[in-house]
Amino acid sequence: MGLAGNAAIVGAAQYKPEKYQTAPQMFHLEQVADLAHQALQDAGLHKDDLDGLVINGPQFHEASVFVPAMAAEYLGIEVNFAEVVDLGGCTAVAQIWRAAAAIEMGLCQAVLCVIPARMAPLAPNEDPAWMAQAMRYGGHSTAYGAPEAEFDLPYGHMGQNTGYAMIAQRYAAQYGYDKSAMAKIAVDQRFNAQYHKDAIFRGKELSIEDVLGSKLVADPLHVLEIVMPVAGGAAVIVASKEVAARAKKRPAFVTGFGERLSFKSPSYANDMTVTPVAEAAKRAFGMAGLSPKDMHAAQIYDCYTITVLLSLEDAGFVPKGEGQRFIKEHNLTWKGDFPLNTHGGQLSFGQAASAGGFSQVIEAFDQISNSAQGRQLKGCDNVFVSGTGGVMSEQGALILQGG
């Protein structure tokens, strides 16, 4: 059942995270082609090797429908698998396993996974105000009949911050809450970011006091425990074993994955503190025939510090309720005994919309392929990657292994 491990990540590209105000503006089609080009070069492959495409569906600038067709035509490729994913921050992880599955089913030999996340230029007569208007409700749908428009917005429930904060509060009530342990997640990751040339917070070190002294946004979350949205974008090439054999870098085989979507608003979860990654990771480890202790690094989706805590627990790295102790007892940096988000995580690397999830995927590939430069782990063969969309609504897990 599941994957046999015959598909691998063979190349990747990622724009340096930048503030929206100063980042280049490019059409999304243009970004797709540019990122594909860079990722193919990284792999040492040619465009004509591509026969599959996985792209983000929503929020594509040039079209709201027929997005795969428009993108494939623009790239000049024909594909046997034309896929969109609409899983928010889980999209990157979800793209990778879908590409691997298409390859193992024999549909494709090389699949482009891509998410453009720089802003497109405005038309000469376009009013930028529409964008501010569209963002006003923090991504919550305001459509007539949308449950969130009717039952959340009137009370002030919107965006992501407060949902994650409520999950943290519930966790605190059940298991206790150690603020400094939570802050340490951000601090250790910031340490890692100092070793990644593209991290947005490179050059800005951080202490636990800094985190706890930063502005409280929604109890118990401080601003330095919340990701910063940036412009960016990423592409990853997933290929068959045969194609991987002629790629430039050491491939990262996809040997396990899982996906779980449990709700939109965590208010309707069976148990708010048991997150969907539990099921996703269980399946991923089972598929790979490995366990959390076999992992040489964990690249865990980190929109908030609480996401990391719950993912560590629910993915099986530490028993439920013991995550905070674990965090304090371990050095989570790339130099430490539990290397976590060795690129800095999205908290310190930057979150380029749903392409932010690729930062974790690409860091896993960088570590496995020995491309992690100053932060390279020794003997990094097995890496766990997670993705999280919405308010822990949808989560995915990958096991990547050096081949």
């Binding site: 009949g145 009717e150 917005l153 009370y155 002030g156 502005k215 409280l216 929604a218 208010s267």
Partner: protein, 311 residues
């Protein structure tokens, strides 16, 4: 009434829920096939998909499943409630509701605490949101508090609304017209005077003889813009005065329409209402919708959306 905040729009499916709240009841759906309780409202059971659901009144009691205190408003419009205690309440029936907890001190809020419903009247029309509070608190209804209430009045009896009081400003946009103004007569002499002043001496305004035969109105009519400018002679008792601004600019009109003619000799009167209040980097913009009617005609002769900018 315009409010600062996003308001629920009931659908055919959810209407009984909102109607019950207006009547100070919590009603949720229960499935006749599997006995499961359903929230938010749907046309099918969220446990078994059966369409056989009934609305049942429940006590509105439950426990606090989780909460957070917002230290930065989730939208600027919620600034007046800060910090909001955003909450998830688990009703006794097991369903959970996104809501806000009110009238509980920060230090007294505990996950798991028993809570009860508060029917919060958020508009004059009785629109009701379902909030919760500690069971140790009194009362199940929070009456609508008119944001204009308690504000001072000037000697004309107008409520004094500081330009900084957004909630009160929004409350002005209540879609209620003022009483009618005084009436004035628009006679041929006035029309002639305006024709001379403006230069618009088209026969339809100025030649009663020709109008009798050639005009569809069989008499001369006033210039639309004459009736428009006569608004200065119509004393309209706005119930408020905006205060505390640096400058007030008459920005012009967003819409000027002349839906009905004003035959010479007509008596006209006017009224207005606040159509919209909006806040931007330019300041606070109030749009007054001014209507001028010929007495006895339901259709206005002038509709003028006057925009005034305060900063």
């Amino acid at each position: 009434m315009a409010t600062l905040k996003p308001m629920p729009q009931a659908t055919k499916i959810s209407a009984p829920f909102w109607q019950a709240l207006k009547e100070n009841q919590v009603k949720i759906q229960q499935c006749n096939s599997c006995d499961g309780w359903v929230f938010f409202p749907r046309n099918h059971c969220s446990h078994c998909l059966s369409h056989d659901l009934d609305w049942k009144e429940v006590s509105g009691e439950g426990t606090l499943y989780s909460y957070t205190l917002t230290r930065i408003p989730t939208m600027p419009e919620f600034a007046d409630e800060m910090p909001q205690a955003l909450a998830v309440v688990e009703l006794a029936q097991g369903v959970r509701v996104n809501t806000t907890l009110i009238d509980v001190a920060e230090e007294d809020i505990k996950v798991g605490m028993p809570v009860k419903a508060v029917f919060d009247k958020v508009s004059k029309d009785g629109e009701t949101l379902l909030r919760f509070t500690s069971v140790s608190n009194d009362g199940g209804v929070r009456e609508f508090k008119d944001p204009l209430e308690g504000l001072e009045r000037n000697d004309k009896g107008q409520v004094q609304v500081p330009v900084s009081n957004l909630a009160a400003l929004y409350a002005l946009a209540d879609n209620e017209f003022t009483p009618w103004s005084n009436s004035i007569v628009v006679d041929q002499a006035l029309i002639n005077a305006f024709a001379e002043l403006s230069g618009d001496d088209y026969w339809i305004h100025t030649d009663p003889e020709r109008a009798k035969t050639d005009s569809p109105f069989k008499t001369t009519i006033a210039h639309g813009s004459l009736v428009q400018v006569l608004q200065s002679k119509l004393t309209i008792a706005l119930p408020f005065e905006i205060t505390g601004f640096q400058t007030m600019v008459n920005y012009g009109s967003n819409r000027l329409r002349f839906p009905a003619p004003v035959p010479a000799g007509s008596v006209i009167k006017g009224r207005s209402k606040v159509q919209d209040v909006s806040v931007s980097h330019k300041g606070v913009q109030v749009t007054l919708e001014m209507h001028i009617h010929v007495e006895g005609n339901d259709r206005p002769s002038v509709i003028n959306d006057l925009v005034i900018l305060y900063r």
